[in-house]
């Protein structure tokens, strides 16, 4: 039973570019959340998707957008990349939202040059 899978594992971009990160949730899970984790910090909540709708959003600008597909997989898009967007981007899935434990992928390491 595959857990949460994220792709790519590493990505290097330059300022101003756009990036798309992908997440496949654990089998049986319908809720996907995205987090940004800067080096040495705790993860910061970006947004949560359920039934293809953004259900909750954290304090991130509109440059960060997402999508959930009918098969529950999800994408995170970031436009107009800034140096400060360099971080580990984590995807988590669950069935039943946040009242249940979250299962995390190993993340995508995004470096902005």
């Amino acid at each position: 039973d595959a857990g949460v899978t994220q792709s790519p594992t590493h990505l290097i971009k330059t300022r101003g570019q756009q990036v798309t990160l992908r997440c496949s949730p654990k089998s049986g899970h319908d809720t996907v959340s995205w987090y940004q984790q800067a080096l040495g910090q705790g993860p910061q909540f970006i947004f949560q998707y359920y039934e293809e709708e953004e259900r909750q959003r954290g304090n991130f600008p509109d440059r960060f957008s997402g999508h959930q597909f009918p098969n529950y997989s999800s994408e995170l898009n970031v436009n107009a990349l800034l140096l400060g967007d360099s971080a580990l981007y984590l995807c988590a899935s669950s069935s039943g939202g946040l009242v249940e434990p979250q299962h995390f992928g190993d993340g995508t390491r995004l470096s902005i040059l």
Binding site: S33, G42, P43, F45, G58, V99
Partner: protein, 111 residues
Amino acid sequence: SQQGEEDPQALSIQEGENATMNCSYKTSINNLQWYRQNSGRGLVHLILIRSNEREKHSGRLRVTLDTSKKSSSLLITASRAADTASYFCATHPYNTDKLIFGTGTRLQVFP
């Protein structure tokens, strides 16, 4: 912004000793969750404790929750070198659909 503050920021102990980490938060919560993160990897769920629970156990882990003080603690008994990792508390604030993580405690267990 991060709701949780964890204490201590770093902890070094010998194998066999107990490790205690504390977490404080700011708002009313539905539940509080503890996660472990090995370097460069994703987070692994350890324990979820609901707001109406005061203590929970899982193997060598013991979590307490004091909602009146808005604080929680994680105790790892008889620690092992494999317990070396960063530990995070995360709160699910009441009336929200987001998980707010603390700043983390870096635990180093020496053989």
